[in-house]
Amino acid sequence: MDGKDLIYGMGFVDEKFVEEAEYATQIRRTSFPWKYYFVAACFVCVISVAMLIPNIFDTPVAPPDYEITLPYQTDPAPYYPEIHQVNVSQVRVNDVQSVSEGSFLYDPEVHEIITWTMDEITAYYGRNPIPAYIPNTLTASPYNESAAVLVDKSGVAVNDLIYFDFYHEYDNNGNPLLDTENGAKIGFSVAISKIGMTGDCVYVDTNNLETTYIGDTAVILGSMSTPYKRYTAKFQYGGTHYLIIADQMQLEEVVKVVASIIYESDNISILN
């Protein structure tokens, strides 16, 4: 065995390492956190000095005879919103076999349907669950302002599944219109639930499941072979389960919507 064998053997390393080395443009430095040790050491020194000279903090300090005035008031530093970058070439999309609607057994003896306003939804989920980024061509459904949920007799939510729809056009009843070309909706719906009931079931091959990381959040993206493009995105963020089903949208736009939920910001830059 010699150096040549090792160089040649490198050719058999896992493809994930090859891919990682190709697309990672920055390295995360695992430097020793000296600055924290420095701050801690300073703190210990101050405490030690204070203990050695017990009356140091009790000595009265005479007020100054003059007033200190600042020559000018400095302007606060301008605020630049943080831009979150997502590299779409690192996005992994799974094949979706089918999507079917889930169901919940409603028992009027036990359950009660109540309506939550947007404030109540925000209070329950701890944040406004609507994506920060909505493509310009899409508008919010008139039904997004409130949601019907199921509670038990003690008022505890047993089905907290809420849908928010964003489509290109709606009929008079507020239902999304289908386009003439594919007979399908254009836009997406977001289903959210703290309990974990994401409504629709997305069938993917779990043996070859690929995960995309946006920030630290694992997102399972899927695409379905339909006459038009359908993408799905399933993830959990801030204790809430999300399922996005997007019809006739570009992958980049879907990723941007997902990233806007995860980063809680609409300043998302998509890199190709």
Binding site: L6, G9, F12, V13, E15, V18, E19, R28, E210
Partner: protein
């Protein structure tokens, strides 16, 4: 075009798959091959062979990391074409890399007469790389998989050349210790 769309074309036996692969990754493959072979003619041949082998292996393969998959094929073909005996005259970089890697091999293993199976080495390297910090792994992979120069690695990751050299030196030492520990396994596999 997305990778999965290209893979779909391969599965449909649509020859446009080769065209799209060449458009998207041809440049990268050429660069990789050129760094190893240092010859324009051999590089062109190698990239063509890579595309042909990709066509012949997808299907049944359905690679998760498409670029890594074709780059691996390209690298294998390149090293197959490389004339090791004359490499010293034609490609100083390969000689340099080989010499660096030679330093990772513990004495106990360098005495093994037989050529250890490359796949077995690859398996050991996978274990070794999995245990490395990302920073070390990226630098190591760029140097010994992509055969990048120290300068280009430092440019790529915006770090000093001395940092790259130090990291590589330490990683090679870690690899030597790792191979020494795994030496028995390696020996057992071969006997």
């Amino acid at each position: 075009m997305e990778d999965y769309e290209i893979i779909c074309l391969f599965w449909k036996r649509d020859e446009m798959a080769i065209k799209h692969t060449e458009v998207k990754y041809g440049g990268k493959l050429c660069l990789l091959a050129m760094k190893i072979l240092n010859s324009r003619e051999d590089t062109a041949e190698c990239v063509n062979d890579t595309l042909l082998k990709t066509w012949n292996t997808i299907p049944p393969q359905k690679p998760t990391y498409f670029f890594a998959y074709i780059a691996k094929i390209c690298r294998h073909i390149c090293f197959g074409l490389l004339d090791w005996k004359n490499a010293q005259k034609r490609n100083a970089k390969i000689v340099e890399l080989t010499s660096e890697m030679q330093s990772c091999i513990p004495d106990s293993l360098s005495n093994i007469d037989r050529e250890v199976e490359s796949k077995e080495i690859g398996r050991l390297l996978n274990i070794f790389l999995s245990g490395l910090a990302q920073e070390k792994r990226l630098i190591f992979m760029r140097r010994y998989w992509y055969t990048d120069s120290i300068h280009s690695i430092s440019q790529r990751y915006d770090i000093s050349e001395s940092k790259v050299k130090t990291t590589l030196f330490r990683t090679r030492n870690e690899l030597e210790i790792f191979l020494r520990k795994e030496g028995i396994t390696l020996w057992t596999v071969k006997t």
